[in-house]
């Protein structure tokens, strides 16, 4: 009888404790599996056809400079897909890429007409209305939010469209900064890249394609650029700087390659 009473007391106390603890935090939900987009474009930094390693002073350009690339960043817009029959499909996509930090994918998940596709067009930069619109209207994770991309010029208005920065060995054999910031509508760049490796989209078909970003070609094709001779800095903000940017702007036609 005594044993029964003790058991009853213990049960009651256990009930009290567990009753008071009923508000323990629920377990966190497991993360949902990532949804595969209709089209995934992966931008891969390259130098002479091989994966570019950031923060390594080891790349030699045609112009004779030894480089350590720190950053390659870009804002992309006005994407279009090109069908094998030449028709184009506009995409409602903006992208901010920061290749040194592995932010290198553009995921397109809108409805795409069924067909066989051979190419992609996009703009490096933004058209005037968006470039000079209110930069803070974008949500905190949007590619055009200046805190996300750190590529807005603030007071002066507009975004930097393309950044290529790092160090090079100067004539004194010590590290010197190179910094190219392509900006302003003058340097809005249209890119069209095609591949013989066509891909099917639409009707629930999904595809993934790699796009090489060839930093060696950025400094060499068609115009050979020497940091030591031509200058290591341009912010697209003065006539002198524009002379440098004009060359590199031209080279961007050969910088991107659809695989």
């Amino acid at each position: 009888m005594k044993l029964i009473r003790i058991s009853f007391f213990i049960t009651l106390i256990a009930f009290i404790i567990s009753g008071c603890d009923k508000e323990k935090e629920p377990k966190k939900n497991e993360p949902l599996p990532e949804k595969t987009p209709a089209l995934r474009l992966t931008f891969n930094p390259k130098f002479n056809g091989r994966d570019l390693e950031f923060n390594k002073m080891k790349y030699i350009t045609t112009g004779g400079d030894t480089l350590n690339v720190q950053r390659v960043q870009m804002i992309l817009s006005n994407f279009e897909l090109i069908k094998t029959n030449g028709e184009t499909v506009k995409l409602d996509t903006f992208a901010y890429l920061n290749l040194a930090e592995n932010r290198n994918q553009v995921n397109i998940d809108q409805e795409i007409p069924e067909g066989e596709y051979k190419g992609i067009r996009f703009m490096v930069g933004l058209d005037s209305a968006i470039n000079h619109g209110d930069p803070m209207r974008w949500g905190k994770n949007h590619p055009l939010n200046p805190i996300v991309n750190n590529m807005h010029w603030g007071w002066q208005g507009g975004y930097i469209f393309w950044v290529c920065e790092g160090y090079f060995m100067n004539n004194g054999n010590s590290n010197e900064i190179f910094s190219f910031h392509m900006a302003t509508l003058k340097y809005l760049k249209n890119i069209e890249i095609q591949t013989s490796n066509t891909f099917s989209l639409g009707n629930n078909k999904k595809a993934a394609r790699d796009i090489d970003v060839n930093i060696d070609k950025y400094f060499s094709i068609p115009a050979t650029y020497s940091l030591k001779l031509n200058g290591a800095v341009s912010h697209s903000s003065s006539p002198d700087e524009d002379l440098r940017m004009d060359v590199l702007y031209g080279n961007m036609d050969n910088t991107f390659e659809l695989k």
Binding site: L12, E23, E25, N55, D134, I147, W153, W155
Partner: protein
């Protein structure tokens, strides 16, 4: 007789069990939170995006404010968050290094607190990726409040005052670390500072923005090769700070403090520290992660002539600055006038942010 006393014992125990669990349902315990109304967003300013799992309420904010000003969070109940983050200094620490409850001194300057909703990382070295992570660290740091979250939660759960406030804010009787962090987040998210003379000038409103400040603005936004001071690459957005981790060339080597590399473990992050907002900068001395500069004049002199060009991992956006800025005395003075225009007097005097125990 034994049977009768047992029966009374059961009844008392049942009474305790029922009221022990429901004691928080008295008249003071009302869970009907009032949604917080943010100030009107103006063109050019960021949109308000509190976390969806923690909508701001008047009750949650009030609770966070009490916690911020309450020494209950420290190991010996003597130190408050507000002791190192003073409202008159835009919630920065005017001491070079903060002193903890044990008398120990930290190694970095206490950061200013405002516009935190838009920060991607916290601390000088970005070691907290959310504000909710951040608000736990000083409690558990032996050089700061030298306590533990379990101790703090015990104290909070023993307090009828806080049990009621937590219930009214979150509808929960048991105070957890998650609820503590959410309350702090709510209060800290309301520390919004966008009403300096610079902002009024930017918005075209009546302002005392001076001609000297305007000349400083021009220098601020111009590159060195064009005769400017090139501040805007890191401080050009509406926050007047990119919040990125960079090495601005403070030191020739990074042995004394590895900075961001302590978070990432990467050699190339050595010497990198968070780019802070320049808002309220005239109130937040001393400057840099280690508070080495006591005045804005010292800071300008550093950028003009003291940047270490060969500092490992110096940020390429420092660009031409390491070669030296050719700023005249007048230009330096103009720059400082511009920096002073970032002071938001309304913010540092806002009674909604002051000590609620006063």
């Amino acid at each position: 007789m034994v049977g009768k006393s047992n029966t009374i014992g059961f009844i008392v125990l049942l009474f305790i069990s029922i009221y022990g669990c429901q004691r928080d349902n008295s008249a003071d315990y009302v869970f009907a939170p009032t949604p917080y109304q943010f100030p009107e967003r103006k063109n050019g300013y960021p949109i308000y995006e509190p976390n969806t799992d923690n909508p701001l309420t008047e009750e949650g904010i009030a609770l966070g404010r009490y916690l911020f000003y309450d020494p209950i969070l420290s190991g010996d109940s003597t130190q408050r968050c507000a002791d190192c983050h003073k409202q008159e200094n835009a919630f920065a620490d005017p001491k070079r290094f903060s002193i903890g409850i044990s008398g120990a001194q930290g190694r970095r300057n206490g950061m200013a607190l405002f516009n935190l909703m838009w920060h991607p990382e916290f601390f000088w070295d970005g070691r907290a990726s959310t504000l909710r992570e951040q608000v736990v660290v000083p409690i558990e740091d032996p050089k700061e409040m030298n306590s533990s979250m379990s101790e703090v939660l015990k104290k909070l759960n023993r307090s009828t005052f806080y049990r009621r406030l937590f219930y009214n804010a979150f509808g929960k009787h048991i105070i957890t670390q998650d609820l503590y962090a959410k309350a702090m987040e709510q209060f800290l998210f309301t520390l919004i500072s966008f009403n300096s003379e610079y902002d009024k000038f930017f918005r075209g409103e009546p302002t005392s923005f001076s001609e000297a400040a305007f000349r400083g603005l021009t220098l601020f936004n111009k590159e060195p090769q064009l005769g400017g001071a090139d501040c805007f690459h890191c401080h050009g957005n509406i926050h007047l700070g990119s919040f990125k981790m960079v090495n601005n060339g403070l030191d020739e080597t990074h042995n004394s403090d590895l900075g961001y590399a302590e978070t990432t473990g990467k050699d190339y992050d050595q010497g990198k520290f968070k780019v802070v907002s320049l808002r309220n900068i005239a109130l937040t001395a001393p400057y840099m992660h280690d508070g080495r500069f006591a005045t804005l004049e010292e800071v300008i002199d550093f950028y003009a002539q003291g940047v270490h060009a060969n500092s490992p991992n110096i940020d390429p956006q420092m660009d031409q600055i390491p070669k030296g800025l050719n700023l005249t005395t007048q230009q330096k003075s103009d720059l400082i006038e511009f920096l002073k225009s970032f002071t938001d007097s309304e913010f540092v005097n806002n009674p909604n942010f002051s000590n609620p125990f006063d």
